[in-house]
């Protein structure tokens, strides 16, 4: 059968062709491709680890940020509470002060009023004294000719009144 006859010439050309292919591809192509693919694989692995690390870092940063925010919020509340306290305190103090002041003013006013009252009373008493003197004079004109005797009598009576009052 011609089909199964190996041909020497063809075998020679096959040797040459395959030799060239194995040499060229085996030397310049496959090692390059294998190395490149290996390098790329490593690069991908490294990138993935780096990405994982970055994500982990990001997570941490987020966590820290959240913590910071929570802390800040707490502080804010604290500050607000403090401020409220201070406000209340200030208001209370102011109120107290005002009260005191008012009381002082009132006290003074009262004292003034008391004084005025006393003055007024004294005036009134004098007036009353004068009036009573006048009245008494008119009444006693007949009894008391001497003006000095009359005054003594009147003062004596007034002192008596004062003494009884005190």
């Amino acid at each position: 059968m011609e089909l199964f006859n190996p041909d020497i010439g063809l075998a020679f050309w096959m040797l040459v062709s395959f030799g060239i292919v194995v040499f060229l591809l085996g030397k310049y192509v496959w090692p390059t491709i294998m190395n490149a693919i290996h390098a790329r694989e490593q690069y991908i692995v490294e990138s993935i680890t780096a990405a994982d690390e970055a994500q982990e870092k990001l997570k941490n940063i987020q966590k820290e940020g959240n913590e910071l925010i929570a802390k800040a919020r707490e502080e804010q509340i604290q500050i607000l509470q403090d401020a409220k306290k201070i406000k209340d305190k200030t208001i209370n103090e102011a109120r107290d002060l005002a009260k005191q002041e008012t009381e002082k003013v009132m006290e003074k006013a009262r004292q003034t009023i008391q004084k005025e009252k006393e003055n007024a009373l004294r005036e009134i008493r004098r007036q009353v004294a004068f009036l009573s003197l006048d009245i008494a004079e008119k009444i006693l004109r007949k009894d008391l000719d001497n003006k000095n005797a009359q005054m003594d009598l009147a003062n004596r009576i007034l002192d008596e009144i004062n003494m009884t009052k005190q």
Partner: protein, 381 residues
């Protein structure tokens, strides 16, 4: 769906009726022919099946493209032959005028003669000898073309990898990288383990070489279409290279297991070395099977496709009305065969590479000394 069916039936009927007038015309010329043998002889005189088939499967000295009428259109290839006494001759195969005439004492032996389809020299005394023939035949030409093709495809790709190894592959690179990775990871690495780097260049080359040769045989237009891996020399040499690599990389353990197989009763090895002989034969059979598998698959694929195509001409020579029906059927079968052949082409390249790597890794077995006890334990496990 229904529309499609109707369309196909109409097309089919068209083909059949197109043949009718011809059939009636032929009937008159075929009158008086009733014996089957006569019919077959008649067919053979019109269409030479064997010649047609073998001219497509066997190697040839020119690249046949087509026939227009009686003129044969083919690309001549260089013939390089050594005469028995006159030295080397180099000339184009067109000098033979498609095997019709001789040139300087050389001629192409006809079908049925010794050394059929090969260049022979007619010596002055009239005897015909086969000359030493280094012609660049159809298959040799296709081989060289494949070499150029592979280099043109892979060297720029390799350059792309060196330029920017970390970039995403593009173009042809992205088409071939999965294939390279598949062979590298699933075939070579899985068989050879860590030592794959030593053998990967050879095995990858073998894979892509066989794949390209197989697929180029399926393209029926010049410069493809030669039945390369279906010529016994090509798979034979590839298997031979694998055999050499198996033996070069073999370890002591491999030879020990072959020549003094452990766990085998002594009487099977000592006076008559039955087991060692069987083991040795199996080690030789491996590459032979490697060769036969590739050769037979590719040759059979070509043969079937061509025979299916020949059916058209055979039935065409018999009767026009059958021919038209057969044409459709055999074209459908040929399409199916070609698709199947593409699959076979890829599978055979894969299988050859896979088995080569498996055989190489089997030859690299570690030198392990098993005691009888260990072996019995192993068998029990």
């Amino acid at each position: 769906m229904l529309n499609n069916k109707v369309y196909i039936i109409v097309l089919y009927l068209l083909f059949v009726f197109a043949g009718l007038p011809k059939a009636f015309g032929d009937e008159q010329t075929h009158k008086g022919k009733e014996s089957g043998e006569e019919l077959i002889e008649d067919v053979e005189s019109i269409f030479n099946v064997k010649g047609f088939t073998f001219s497509h499967i066997l190697d040839s000295y020119s690249f046949h493209i087509t026939n227009i009428g009686k003129t044969i259109i083919s690309v001549p290839l260089p013939v390089i032959v050594k005469s028995k006494d006159r030295g080397w001759f180099v000339f184009m195969s067109s000098k033979f005028h498609h095997g019709e005439t001789g040139y300087k004492g050389f001629s192409i032996a006809k079908e049925g003669e010794p050394y059929a389809y090969k260049v022979v020299e007619t010596l002055p005394d009239g005897s015909v000898v086969r000359s030493l023939d280094f012609s660049i035949t159809k298959v040799a030409f296709s081989l060289m073309f494949t070499v150029v093709l592979l280099c043109c495809v892979f060297i720029p790709i390799a350059r792309k990898y060196t330029k920017n190894p970390l970039k995403v592959p593009s173009g042809l690179q992205s088409l071939l990288e999965p294939l390279v990775l598949f062979v590298l990871n699933d075939v070579i690495k899985s068989a050879l383990g860590d030592s794959y780097k030593k053998y990967a260049p050879y095995l990858l080359t073998v894979f892509f070489f066989i794949l390209t040769l197989n697929l180029s045989g399926l393209i029926p237009v010049f410069p493809f279409g030669a039945n390369i891996t279906g010529s016994i020399v090509i798979p034979g040499l590839l298997a031979f290279f694998t055999y050499i690599i198996i033996n070069v990389s073999s370890t002591k353990g491999y030879w020990r297991e072959m020549l003094w197989p452990p766990g085998v009763p002594l009487w099977l090895k000592f006076p008559i070395p039955v087991m060692p002989l069987i083991e040795f034969l199996s080690s030789i059979t491996k590459p032979l099977v490697l060769m036969m598998r590739l050769f037979a698959n590719m040759m059979a694929g070509h043969l079937l496709t061509i025979v299916m195509m020949s059916l058209i001409f055979i039935f065409g020579a018999m009767s026009a009305i059958i021919a038209d029906t057969v044409t459709i059927v055999s074209i459908l079968i040929t399409i199916f065969m070609t698709i199947l052949h593409i699959l076979v082409a890829v599978i055979q390249a894969y299988v050859f590479t896979l088995l080569s790597s498996v055989f190489i890794s089997a030859a690299r077995v570690k030198d392990e000394h098993y005691s009888k006890k260990e072996i019995t334990e192993k068998i029990k496990v």
